[in-house]
């Protein structure tokens, strides 16, 4: 690993970085470093604190962080043109499976990683190593409602809980919640959804609520609408609700019947820093480092020992906490990889009417 040293001492660091970036010199300098691409935002800041900084400090390997929106098309373009400038990327599970199938990621050599079977089962994937667990939950403003809703059946009950509902615009999550509201047991949801009658049943249930739904697309919208009083309750990502709680809003989460999934680290096929990438993944999978990440943002660690290192209040806010996990359902990635396209097509036809 070559270290490039610039005479930074005499000029301000910020100005130096800015001018280097302008000249394009930063690219040649970082070409030697491991490039790690995450989703950025609050989660990216937590990663900086828990993983990026300490990793460089401990191993001396230069690391260039970056962020993106999870689109597979950019990685596809890199691999197909043979111009791979990203080494390690944070992936959501359906994209990970699709990209793995297309040969966009290096298959993970679990022997080499030396993690044994320490992580939770869902963290093991052909092309990816799980890094944290996030969840889509039912959230509401406790100040605005007289009684507390406890299930998706309550979410559908506009008599008892009047007001607009927020749901994500798309078939994913929405169909699962509709079936749960229609009385399907949590562990039978995907079984039912795999049948044409099950899909019809989910859409029929959505028909009932259609006039009361305000559709969201960005994760920032649900907490914002709850706080503004636009919706009485909504589906939302648990990390976003936690952020709003920290700002003083009295938002509540219903963990029963929530849907959880993992984000993964994946090594882009053709990366020149595979060794460093393995080192980084191993570092980021250590319980003490995962505990730092999860204390910054309430997404659950994939190493069970990390949960024990968190203080109780924070651990209770995680999708991975025993009590929260009890009534929750893991998103069936394979189902959405296989049927996502036709169901999204049908959803957009349905929603557009």
């Amino acid at each position: 690993m070559t270290h490039h040293r610039f005479p930074l001492s005499r000029i301000s660091r910020g100005a130096a970085i800015a001018s280097l970036a302008t000249l394009g010199l930063a690219v040649s300098a970082s070409a030697q470093a491991l490039t790690v691409i995450s989703f950025g935002g609050a989660s990216g800041e937590a990663m900086q604190k828990a993983y990026y900084g300490p990793f460089t400090e401990q191993t001396g390997i230069d690391l260039t962080p970056g962020d993106y929106n999870g689109e597979l098309s950019r990685i596809r373009a890199m691999v197909e043109t043979g111009n791979v400038s990203w080494d390690l990327v944070e992936m959501e599970s359906p994209e990970l499976v699709r990209g793995c199938f297309e040969g966009l990621f290096e298959p993970i050599d679990w022997q080499r990683l030396g993690l044994g079977d320490q992580l939770i089962d869902a963290a093991f994937d052909e092309c990816g190593v799980g890094t944290f667990v996030w969840s889509t939950v039912l959230a509401y403003d406790a100040d605005a409602l007289d009684a507390a809703p406890t299930s998706w059946a309550d979410f559908w009950d506009v008599e008892r809980f009047p007001g607009t509902r927020g749901l994500r615009r798309g078939a994913k999550y929405t169909l699962e919640f509709a079936l749960m509201a229609d009385g399907v047991a949590v562990d039978e949801v995907y079984e039912v959804l795999r049948t044409p009658e099950g899909v019809d049943r989910a859409f029929a249930k959505l028909d009932e609520l259609k006039d009361h739904i305000q559709w969201w697309e960005a994760g920032a919208q649900p907490p914002q609408w709850l706080v503004a009083g636009d919706v009485a309750m909504t589906s939302a990502y648990n990390g976003r609700i936690a952020a709003a709680q920290e700002e003083g809003s009295n938002l509540e989460i219903v963990w029963d019947e929530s849907l959880y999934d993992l984000d993964y680290w994946a090594i882009v096929a053709g990366s020149e820093h595979v060794d460093e990438a393995y080192q980084f993944i191993e570092f980021a999978s250590q319980p003490e480092n995962q505990a730092v990440y999860s204390s910054e943002i309430p997404y659950g660690p994939v190493h069970p020992a990390a949960i024990e290192q968190l203080d109780d209040a924070q651990a209770r806010r995680m999708p991975t906490h025993e009590e929260n996990m009890a009534g929750a359902l893991a998103i069936d990635t394979g189902f959405w990889v296989d049927h996502g396209e036709e169901l999204e097509q049908r959803f957009s036809a349905w929603a557009a009417r």
Binding site: F101, E102, G103, L104, Q214, G229, A351, A352, R353
Partner: protein, 421 residues
């Protein structure tokens, strides 16, 4: 130059040579003209003709299978569609499937075949895992048996018919799908299942929204432009700045501020409740009303500016003359003034209408699912599902519709102008 020319003329014989000289001079002028136009022409070709051409091509392009599995595609094109394809085709399929993982080829055909049936991606995946190593096979290998053993689906004619449908290098499936049509089993064109029909209503809705926005802009913009054109310069300049202000604000900021103004607890609803007009908040945003508010606000300047520039050039004396000859003021306005503004009205409406047709961000932010226009689906297919065939087909249809409407409109406006004058 002219001295030279005279000298040359004098030194040569008259007749054919003079003609040649003239031709040469003419040619030089033509070359200069071409040289002056060339940069613009080149620019237009690079940024306009080529992208639009490639978009039109994309909407019928079907080369995924042919590019990744050329031998299989050829074999399936020659296959008569009964029983199973011959052993050579099956062997080529197995070999090409094994090679396809390099460079993302497997992903491309997986995606393409999934448009035919969603089980193909998984089927290719399991088959790839089950294939025998290249050393274990020879020319006598019975591939039908091997493939059927990996997955019984390969023993069914339908499985191969599905892949055969993806084998030709061009297809009309995307253009048909954009019109809610598809090819039936016998090759005839039929409507798709009613639960999946979406695009005809999306195209219709796009026209209705764009037309509505154009009419509202005209209704609001015409009096405003008239006021601007007739007020003293100082006042009208001040008003003009107000008209232009939205130009200098980012589209996203303007759209976001409409959300804040119109939401249930927003300023507009609060104001209406406070003055006692309504008891509970009106739903003003995330529906069609919000889309109209935001789009009219953004597009109004494009109506006002062409109208203003035309009105500024109309002398007020015509109207005064008409009134002094006994016309009612309204008749003078309607029969003398308005016809003179027709070219401005035409420019403004066509500009606003065409811009409104392509709107994407505004309806996506302030509309509901039933307010999304064609561009939303173009973006959806491009970014989310990577189905560029569908995105290109929708874009091509939108382009064709826009051109047709423009032609019709052009003829109508020209005829009107002829009749009036």
């Amino acid at each position: 130059m002219s001295a030279n020319l005279t000298a040359t003329l004098a030194s040569t014989k008259p007749g054919g040579n003079l003609k040649a000289q003239l031709r040469r001079a003419e040619r030089l002028r033509k070359l200069k003209a071409i040289g002056l136009v060339a940069p613009l022409a080149l620019f237009l070709i690079v940024v306009f003709v080529v992208p639009i051409g490639s978009m039109l091509w994309r909407s019928v392009d079907n080369t995924e299978l042919d590019a990744v599995m050329p031998l299989t595609a050829q074999g399936l094109r020659d296959w008569d569609g009964t029983g199973l394809p011959d052993n050579a085709t099956l062997a080529a399929f197995a070999a090409e499937l094994r090679d396809s993982r390099q460079g993302g080829g497997l992903g491309r055909i997986g995606r393409r075949l999934n448009y035919e049936d969603t089980r193909y991606r998984g089927l290719l995946m399991t088959t790839l895992r089950g294939l025998p190593a290249p050393g274990e096979v020879d020319t006598d290998t019975d591939w039908a048996a091997i493939l059927s053993e990996i997955d019984p689906a390969w023993g069914e004619t339908d499985t191969w018919l599905g892949i055969q449908r993806a084998a030709p290098t061009t297809t009309d499936r995307y253009l048909l799908a954009s019109l809610d049509l598809e090819r039936g089993a016998e090759g005839g064109i039929q409507r798709i299942d009613s639960q999946d029909r979406v695009f005809l209503s999306v195209f219709q809705r796009t026209m209705v929204i764009a037309g509505g926005v154009t009419l509202i802009c005209l209704a609001l913009g015409f009096p405003l432009a008239y006021l601007l054109a007739t007020l003293p310069a100082r006042t009208s300049n001040l008003l003009m700045i107000l008209v232009l202000l939205p130009f200098w604000t980012s589209l996203l900021v303007r759209t976001a501020s409409w959300i804040i103004l119109l939401q249930s607890n927003g300023l507009v609803n609060q104001g209406l409740i406070n003055i006692g007009l309504i008891d509970s908040p009106l739903q003003l945003v995330f529906n069609r009303i919000g889309v109209f508010f935001a789009m009219v606000h953004i597009l109004l300047p494009f109506m006002v500016l062409p109208l203003y520039s035309v009105m500024k050039g109309i002398s007020p004396s015509y109207q005064r003359a008409a009134i002094s000859l006994g016309a009612h003021p309204f008749a003078a306005f309607w029969q003398v003034y308005v016809p003179q503004t027709i070219s401005g009205v035409a420019a403004g409406t066509i500009l606003v209408f065409i811009m409104a047709l392509g709107y994407y961000i505004t309806p996506a932010l302030v509309g509901g699912p039933a307010d999304q226009m064609v561009s939303y689906y173009v973006a959806y297919y491009t970014n989310t599902t990577n189905n560029w065939g569908m995105a290109a087909a929708l874009g091509s249809l939108l382009l064709v519709i826009t051109l047709l409407l423009y032609l019709v409109y052009h003829r109508l406006v020209n005829r009107k102008q002829l009749i009036r004058s």
